[in-house]
């Protein structure tokens, strides 16, 4: 009798979605720090809703699809102030949503991931490019949509080597994240056969990024800073802190191109990207947000679309089902980069082509032709399976 009852209940549950009038509700949280990162160029100052705007567009796209599948997606935004506890905020948000898109610095992301470990909440890292989050500090409940520093560095190095600009004058900022990007670029140079002919440190001695007669001073400083270099093809700058790199193009002592943190820059997305149907998402984004789409917007869009895609394939909004689908062999996502994006199963990093942009145009897209790989050419970018230090748990 009981067995019959269980079977009957099971049948009713299985049959419900067909009859259900109420849509499956899928809540997605967005957790980021308030405040705007400094930039040397005024036109590159991020908007307050940088990232979030991309997630919003993906929610619209998911809902257009969802109306055919009786699924409804919502976005809940939480912005942390300076001293606010990230673990607490993440836990509160996780009470309302099974998925959280995070735009957090590395340490904050780890705190949030560890606080949510036993809840089954799935985190999507949309903002942090630190390799360690995918290597020694990897977490089983974090999917990385943002590319890593080493993916960005490899993408640039492949192009410079293809271009036969193999002799690099290397200029590194004095902050920690500049050094991390420099490490990634050094590794890339070794991997792909470029040579760093000399390395210079640009000390950040403080000072304002905006002044009234700054240009005059910069024009005197930069040629002097770059003179007496050994013969080189390209100046590669590592300046994530936005202290000096954007001052270098057109001001080097020798007439040489600049790449890295200024000049030719590797990035996951740019407002000028119009290939592979991208014009459609660019148009949708501008229409919704009245501004151009940034890399962070695209990373957040992709994260929310991954959730939408998994929900439509599994016909479920359950984080466990979504997570299993995303980790499984059937997952791939289209994100206007000319090929399908998949997850590296050893560290949950999204494989993706990297754009090389000059600020106005997409110059090239890596991986470059001829850089081969036995599994996926996208795995020529960043740390590959044999090198991984990640043990997912």
């Amino acid at each position: 009798m009981i067995r019959w009852l269980v079977a009957a209940i099971g049948f009713c549950i299985a049959a419900t979605p067909v009859l259900a009038a109420d849509p499956i509700e899928v809540g997605i949280g967005y957790l980021g720090r308030a405040g705007v990162k400094p930039k040397l160029s005024l036109v590159e100052l991020p908007a307050e809703n940088d990232g979030l705007a991309g997630a919003r567009l993906a929610i619209e796209d998911n809902n257009t699809t969802g109306k055919f599948l009786n699924q409804h997606f919502t976005l809940q935004e939480v912005r942390l102030r300076d001293n606010e506890d990230v673990a607490k905020a993440a836990t509160t948000l996780a009470e309302r949503t099974g998925f959280i898109i995070a735009d957090l610095p590395a340490d904050d992301l780890l705190k949030a991931a560890d606080a949510l470990r036993d809840r089954g909440t799935l985190l999507f890292n949309a903002g942090a490019i630190d390799d360690r989050l995918r290597e020694q500090d990897c977490r089983a409940n974090v999917i990385h949509v943002a590319p890593t520093r080493s993916m960005l560095a490899d993408a640039l190095a492949q192009y410079l080597v293809w271009k036969q600009w193999k002799r690099w004058l290397f200029v590194v900022g004095s902050h920690d994240q500049d050094k991390l990007f420099a490490d990634a670029l050094r590794r890339a140079a070794t991997r792909f056969g470029a040579k760093i002919v000399q390395e210079r440190i640009f000390e950040d001695t403080g000072g304002a990024r905006r002044t009234d007669s700054g240009v005059t001073l910069i024009q005197r400083q930069m040629p002097v800073f770059t003179q007496q270099a050994p013969a080189y093809d390209v100046l590669v700058a590592a300046d994530e802190s936005e202290v000096f790199a954007s001052y270098l193009p057109y001001r080097t002592w020798d007439p040489r191109p600049v790449a890295g943190s200024a000049g030719l820059v590797p990035t996951s997305w740019h407002a000028a990207q119009d290939q592979w149907g991208a014009i459609q998402i660019q148009n949708r984004f501008v229409k919704l947000n009245s501004r151009h789409m940034t890399a962070l917007d695209m990373q957040a869009w992709t994260a929310a679309r991954m959730i939408g895609e998994a929900a439509s394939r599994t016909k479920s909004g359950n984080p466990k089902a979504v997570s299993a689908f995303l980790r499984g062999p059937d997952f791939s996502i289209a994100a206007f980069k000319g090929r399908r994006l998949t997850l590296r199963d050893w560290n949950l990093q999204l494989r993706q082509p990297i754009l090389l942009v000059d600020g106005r145009m997409v110059v090239s897209v890596s991986p470059q032709e001829g850089f081969l790989h036995q599994v996926s050419e996208l795995d020529t970018l960043g740390a590959d399976r044999p090198e991984t230090k990640c043990k997912l748990q």
């Binding site: 796209d61 257009t64 055919f68 149907g277 148009n283 949708r284 439509s312 289209a334 996926s376 050419e377």
Partner: protein, 330 residues
């Protein structure tokens, strides 16, 4: 006697000419129109000698292209001008414009050639146009980035694929309502019915597959996958599909894999791969089905395939980024 002899001689000559014409003249004297997405032109090709006879200036970003049923006009969707232009085949120039809705890409004409269904990529809609009155009859809300369009052989259903929603929407052409949505693999680009209405094939560019959908049950019954030695699976991106009228052989353009897959349309098995130009996109048969012409976007040319021999026999240079193609009687 003299006159008789002359008549006989003339008769002989004429019948001889006819024999000569039948053996030497190509069996397929048709005319092909190719849209060149980047050069904003349409190339006209004479298939009797595979030469370009004319290049017609059109609006911004021409893509979807189709002859009208009477063969007198060619419609070409010029997406960045938000319209569909009408080329007069006799004059070989643009003579009119249809109100298509924003960013038209692909479209489908009904059997009588009176109603045009247009996929508007920017708007998540399908626009319905009365061709004669040049008037919009209505719009249907579909998924994100509508693209592929096909009408069932009985005219009852319109299939529209939406690229980011990853669905084939079945639209009832009488009520203009969506009656079913079939999930397929990522970025569905093109839909093609078998003439007997037993199957509709949907290509998924990013997913790398062609889904076979049962139009009655409205579910995926099979998926065709493609494997080419030496090529990573990510490079295999199915887009255009062409099927012979008897439903026996299908051709699938594999985009950046630079190949056309020849598929046994009954068993759904790939028979062979034909190497064509770079980024092969869409295709059209000559009306006698002896030849298939395919557009190669990156190499700026059109490959001609001998359908019976399953061989590439010719390459013709056209404009920049050739995209769509349509062929009719001259």
């Amino acid at each position: 006697m003299k006159e008789d002899g002359l008549r006989m001689w003339r008769h002989c000559l004429l019948s001889g000419m006819a024999v000569w014409l039948a053996t030497v003249a190509p069996a397929s004297a048709f005319i092909a129109y190719v849209s060149n997405e980047k050069s904003n032109t349409v190339t006209v090709i004479d298939t009797s000698n595979w030469t370009v006879t004319k290049t017609i200036k059109v609006g911004q970003r021409p893509r979807g292209i189709e002859f009208t049923r009477d063969g007198k006009f060619v419609f070409v969707a010029v997406g960045d001008d938000d319209s569909i232009q009408v080329i007069d085949v006799a004059k070989q120039e643009v003579v009119d414009t249809l109100p298509s809705g924003p960013d038209p890409e692909l479209f489908a004409l009904d059997a009588e050639g009176k109603i045009l269904y247009v996929a508007n990529e920017n708007d998540n809609t399908v626009t319905i146009i009365d061709v004669e009155k040049r008037a919009r009859l209505g719009e249907i809300q579909v998924g994100v980035e509508p693209e592929g369009m096909a009408i069932s052989p009985d005219g009852k259903f319109l299939i529209n694929t939406s690229e980011t929603t990853n669905m084939a929407h079945f639209i009832d052409t009488t009520t203009r309502q969506i009656v079913a949505n079939v999930l397929v693999d990522a970025r569905p680009r093109f839909a093609e019915f078998k003439r007997d209405n037993s199957e509709v094939w949907i290509s998924s560019e990013i997913g790398g597959t062609v889904s076979i959908v049962d139009p009655v049950k409205r579910e995926v019954t099979k998926k065709i996958t493609f494997e080419i030695p030496g090529l990573r699976s990510e490079a295999i991106q199915p887009v255009g599909i062409g099927m012979t009228k008897d439903g026996k052989i299908a051709f699938v353009a594999l985009g950046p894999a630079n190949r056309i897959a020849v598929v046994d349309a009954t068993s759904h098995k790939v028979i062979k791969y034909l190497l064509v130009g770079q980024r092969v996109w869409h295709m059209a048969f000559t009306p006698d089905e002896k030849y298939l012409m395919v557009t190669n976007g990156v190499s700026n040319d059109v490959s001609v395939i001998d359908v019976a021999a399953q061989k590439v026999i010719k390459t013709i240079q056209v404009g920049e980024l050739p995209w769509g193609i349509t062929i009719a009687q001259p």
